[in-house]
Symmetry: C2
Subunit: 254 residues, 2 copies
């Protein structure tokens, strides 16, 4: 049973891309076959894997316009056990181009359908908005995992995201909230602990035990298009993403 996970949050800069890449890499380290899907016109995930899109590569942009082509494609392998459907900056126009199509929120679901048998985990990285790309991520996924920054505005956005998830559950009944990850935690700041406590208070068991700490190694890894395990495998960022992978695996078997 392939787990298709959307890492969604309309708030910007909360670690969606960093989590998609490093959670994916941690799952791959444990032998899982992982597919990463870049669904953000800013193509940060593609950049962070170090992958360069060549002439003729199938990107999410092409596939959103021609979903039937996915059954004959092989996503690019970017690491051991990690493949990628990349995107490019032309994606920026796709939202408008596709907004007229019937079933426009379910196109990614169609794209991923023939690919599911090849992977244990498909992780989808959407942009910071509740627009058509995020709706497609929620339409394709059977779980949404929400990275939530331990900052004051985080909980306000969560309610709005939950409303959108509820609406998408009507067209995608298999969609569940898989969990909430508290990210960018600075242990030395009282504010972060207060916000983290407030998140746990409100969302209870949905919240993973693992938090992702602020760790410059994670930002450095992005700069060098490396996973955290390639850049500094003993950093607190690496340890956190390994622990998170363990929890994600465990919840799937529960």
């Amino acid at each position: 049973m392939t787990r298709i996970i959307a890492l969604a949050n309309q708030k910007g800069g909360v670690g969606k891309t960093t989590t998609t890449l490093n959670l994916g890499a941690a799952l791959a380290e444990r032998g899982r076959r992982v597919l990463l899907v870049d669904l953000d016109p800013q193509s940060n995930l593609t950049t962070c894997t170090g992958h360069t899109v060549q002439e003729g590569d199938l990107t999410t942009y092409h596939l959103l316009h021609h979903p039937e082509r996915s059954s004959s494609m092989t996503p690019k392998q970017v690491r051991d056990n990690v493949s990628l459907i990349p995107t490019t900056l032309d994606m920026a126009t796709a939202e408008v181009e596709l907004s007229g199509k019937i079933g426009r929120e379910m196109i990614l679901r169609k794209i991923l359908h023939p690919l599911r048998t090849r992977y244990d985990y498909i992780l989808i990285d959407p942009p910071p908005s509740l627009g058509l790309f995020t709706l497609n991520a929620l339409g394709a996924a059977n779980e949404v995992i929400i990275p939530l920054q331990s900052h004051p505005l985080a909980l306000k956005g969560l309610g709005q995201l939950q409303l959108t998830i509820a609406l998408m559950q009507e067209v995608n009944p298999s969609l569940q909230i898989g969990g909430i990850i508290v990210t960018l935690v600075n242990r030395r700041q009282n504010l972060d602990s207060e916000v983290e406590a407030a998140i746990r208070q409100r969302a209870g068991n949905l919240v993973f035990e693992t938090v992702i700490p602020v760790n410059v190694r994670l930002a450095e890894a992005s700069a060098r298009a490396l996973t955290i395990f390639e850049h500094d495998s003993h950093s607190i960022g690496a340890l956190a993403y390994r622990d998170l992978a363990g929890e994600v695996i465990q919840r799937g078997t529960a």
Copy 2:
């Protein structure tokens, strides 16, 4: 000559909202009449001013549908010398609703036209995307100021933003790049200094001397819906935003 400034960057979490509020407050402290415009369906700016939208208040949502109403409205005063056009979460549907309209990128310009005489500075806070709200911000502004996080992915997004600005300059010839602010700088991290140096290398004099440091006081202020000057007027965050206001004023007179 009213300066209408869009604080634009499609990257998430780079400090657009924090800068709109605190740069605005710093300009107001120096006696300038400031209007803040919340153009983000997530309505973070509105939340951060502490303003609650009442039944019957005119929001950016209403005004985008009925721009002619702005000539008879009085934006809400939220602080000495600071007024606000707030928004609410219904804004999320506006992008789709307005996408069919002729001149859809210039609606905010029409809204602000009759209000210009009342303010020295109008600061516009758009969402993290290059969609219709950001295009309206660029269509209404005579300057765009770009907050750029001292993190690796920042420069990649800058090129894309500059392309969008160039396209909008064809429909709004008065639009100039007013400057780039390096934000969320952690002085103790080499990565931040490297990225800051790369930004200055590439963008030269466009980059403000002032950088906005990482300062938990700024995040705390958001939590309490206070400006940084109300929350901790001696913090490094407060000093930075005052310095930035000084530079912004100076560039306007140059």
